[in-house]
């Protein structure tokens, strides 16, 4: 070093040396005049994007964010009265229209000039803002959000944690989280900690925790490991949702279901004993009427014998009613066991039985082959028993009786049908057909209990299908049904 540049210790820096610092400083240095305009700005002001000329041409207040102008004016006034400015912050508008946060330091000067240094703190502000956001989210969350160390010391406790568990933040922060554990649940914590140590996240873990008042609360907990900037595990973040209400309604639902099932079972055994016990007296009525007809025929006149026949017919009709009602209730209760069913086979089985029961009726029966459906084979067999049985019955007064089983398309979906050329019905009553005990024919024309089509409808509905009928008095009837229509629409 030459002598001219060597400074004697303690001597003030020369003007040239200060100029060099001014040019080098990463903080922004400036001097403003009493007119409110910058007189000098250091190169660090480049961050705002203006040229030096632009910065010097206008009062500096014009660069200040409008919201920060009053505070800035107040600060300048304070300075003028001799108070220093330390870390005063305001926003400066950049040339591109964005703002940067500046933190000002200044000391009063008797000359009336303003000597000031500003530091760009925009990035720090951004972080703070993000932190404020996060804090607001945590505070406003409906779930309890709790931070804890690896050994279970609570580090943060939000408002919902206060609400759900009843402890204030000051009661919990710095204390063991285990106060929330009901007896017998402490092992859970150890197991969870072990998984967390491996870096696992534990999601929606349903358990029970204890409120400050001692009451147990159902909660769903999510635990995730928290790491520091070097990746080291330092704690656990825990969110807990109060699911007591949910659990309570679940329990209520389960209870209601059990009650309903119990009632159903009771009803089932009731209908079986009714069916069983009602048949015994009917058998006596029928049997002893027949015995009278056989043993005492000579003591009865024509009317007497007719009346006894009526008694027997009534007993038998009632037995049929009991059986039909039992089928109807069974159809409603039994579980659906769905599979691919060959409906043609079901129809042929029913047809064969009808032929056996009334051989020589001479009904022409045409059953389309390979009719497939998705459903419970036993219940679908009941559908064909009823529909084909009806077709069989209502063609009994027809010569050249014909019954047809097939498919057609209805709204793009297959609809199965059973068609006959029998007695038919008046379409005015088409909707009444499927009601229980609804009959469109007098008993002396066609016998029946009026339960069959109601049973068909229930079975079809249970399969998510529809059933409907078309007919004309003395012009035959066609019954259509679909299966699984609801599921297909969904």
């Amino acid at each position: 070093m030459s002598d001219s540049t060597a400074l004697p210790a303690g001597a003030p820096p020369s003007h040239g040396e200060l100029e060099r610092f001014f040019a080098m400083s990463i903080d922004m240095m400036c001097i403003a005049g009493a007119d409110g305009c910058f007189k000098r700005v250091s190169p660090a002001f480049d961050v705002l994007g203006y040229s030096t000329e632009e910065l010097l041409s206008r009062p500096f207040l014009e660069f200040v964010h409008p919201d920060d102008v009053p505070a800035t004016l107040a600060e300048v006034e304070k300075l003028a009265k001799g108070a220093p400015t330390i870390h005063f912050q305001n926003r400066y508008r950049c040339k591109d229209g964005s703002y940067r946060w500046l933190s000002w330091t200044s000391a009063p000067d008797p000359s009336g000039k303003l000597y000031a240094i500003a530091r760009d703190v925009t990035d720090i502000h951004g972080e703070q803002e993000a932190r404020t956001w996060l804090a607001a989210i945590v505070a406003g969350s409906n779930d309890a959000i709790i931070g804890r160390t690896l050994d279970g010391i609570v580090t943060s406790w939000n408002r919902s944690a206060e609400r759900i568990f009843g402890y204030l933040a000051e009661e919990m922060v710095g204390h063991q989280i285990t106060v929330l554990f009901p007896p017998g649940r402490c092992a859970e914590e150890a197991q969870n900690s072990e998984r967390l140590m491996k870096g696992e996240r534990i999601e929606h873990f349903e358990t029970v925790r204890k409120h400050k008042d001692g009451q147990e609360i159902d909660v769903a907990v999510t635990l995730s490991p928290v790491r520091d900037s070097t990746g080291k595990l330092i704690g656990v973040s825990k969110t807990a949702r109060d699911i007591s209400e949910l659990k309570r309604s679940q329990r209520e639902l389960v209870g209601a279901k059990e009650t309903a099932e119990a009632a159903n079972r009771e009803l089932e055994s009731f209908s079986y004993s009714v069916a069983h016990d009602l048949r015994a007296p009917l058998r006596s009525i029928d049997g002893f009427s027949q015995a009278l007809l056989e043993d005492c025929a000579d003591k009865l006149d024509e009317d007497g014998r007719k009346y006894l026949r009526f008694v027997r017919e009534s007993a038998q009709l009632m037995a049929q009613l009991i059986d039909d009602m039992l089928t109807l209730s069974r159809v409603t209760r039994s579980e659906l066991a769905r599979e691919k069913v060959d409906l043609s086979v079901l129809a042929r089985t029913t047809h064969a039985r009808l032929e056996r029961s009334e051989p020589g009726r001479g009904v022409e029966v045409a059953i389309e082959g390979g009719l497939e459906g998705d459903g419970d084979p036993r219940l679908l067999a009941v559908v064909f028993d009823n529909l084909l049985g009806n077709a069989w019955k209502f063609t009994s007064k027809r010569t050249g009786a014909r019954v047809e089983v097939g498919t057609t398309t209805q709204n793009g979906l297959p609809a199965y049908f059973v068609r006959d050329n029998g007695a038919g019905f008046d379409m005015t009553y088409a909707t009444k057909l499927f009601g229980v005990f609804q009959r469109l024919h007098a008993a002396h024309e066609f016998e029946g209990t009026g339960v069959g089509l109601a049973t068909v409808q229930r079975i079809v509905h249970r399969h998510g299908g529809r059933v409907w009928a078309e007919g004309k008095v003395d012009g035959g009837a066609t019954f259509y049904f679909t299966l699984g229509e609801k599921e297909r629409k969904e």
Binding site: A275, H276, A280, R283, D286, F288, S289, Q290, R312, Q316
Partner: protein
């Protein structure tokens, strides 16, 4: 041809006296002349078969040709009677026809599982009832050859 079948007893286990009367009438009308012993509850039926209680002193080796068994019975129900019969060497091969009002699927399955030889639902129509009894009698008393009592394979 089992010529001795006319002497063999039919055991009718039936608690309803009217059903008993109807069954006896149907048997008679079908010309089935075998003696019929009627037990009115499950315990009575077992006492008869094992020659004990009210039936003590009866020759226990004289077993009925066929048992017509109702299911709903006082004291011990039909399925319990059947279970007991099948567990005993003396009666395990005895033909048992369940004759009942019930067509409860459960009863059918349990009846056959316990070793019933046949399951017949009593029709309400007496003409059909008579026909069912006639066929049962024909089959179990005439057509069918019974295993020798206490028989072993």
């Amino acid at each position: 041809m089992n010529t001795a079948s006319n002497d063999r007893v039919i055991l009718l286990v039936e608690d309803n006296p009217k059903d008993e009367e109807l069954t006896l009438r149907a048997l008679k009308k079908s010309n089935i002349l075998n003696p019929v012993v009627v037990a009115r509850d499950g315990v009575d039926a077992l006492d008869y078969l094992f020659a004990r209680g009210a039936h003590a002193g009866r020759l226990p080796s004289a077993l009925p040709q066929v048992i017509l068994l109702d299911l709903k019975l006082p004291k011990l129900d039909g399925l319990d009677v059947l279970r007991t019969l099948r567990l005993d060497e003396r009666t395990k091969l005895l033909p048992v026809v369940i004759l009942t009002s019930s067509v409860e699927e459960q009863d059918l399955v349990r009846g056959y599982s316990l070793g019933a030889n046949s399951y017949v639902r009593k029709p309400v129509d007496f003409v059909q009832f008579s026909e069912a009894v006639r066929q049962l009698g024909l089959y179990w008393l005439v057509t069918n050859e019974v295993a020798p009592p206490g028989g072993r394979p």
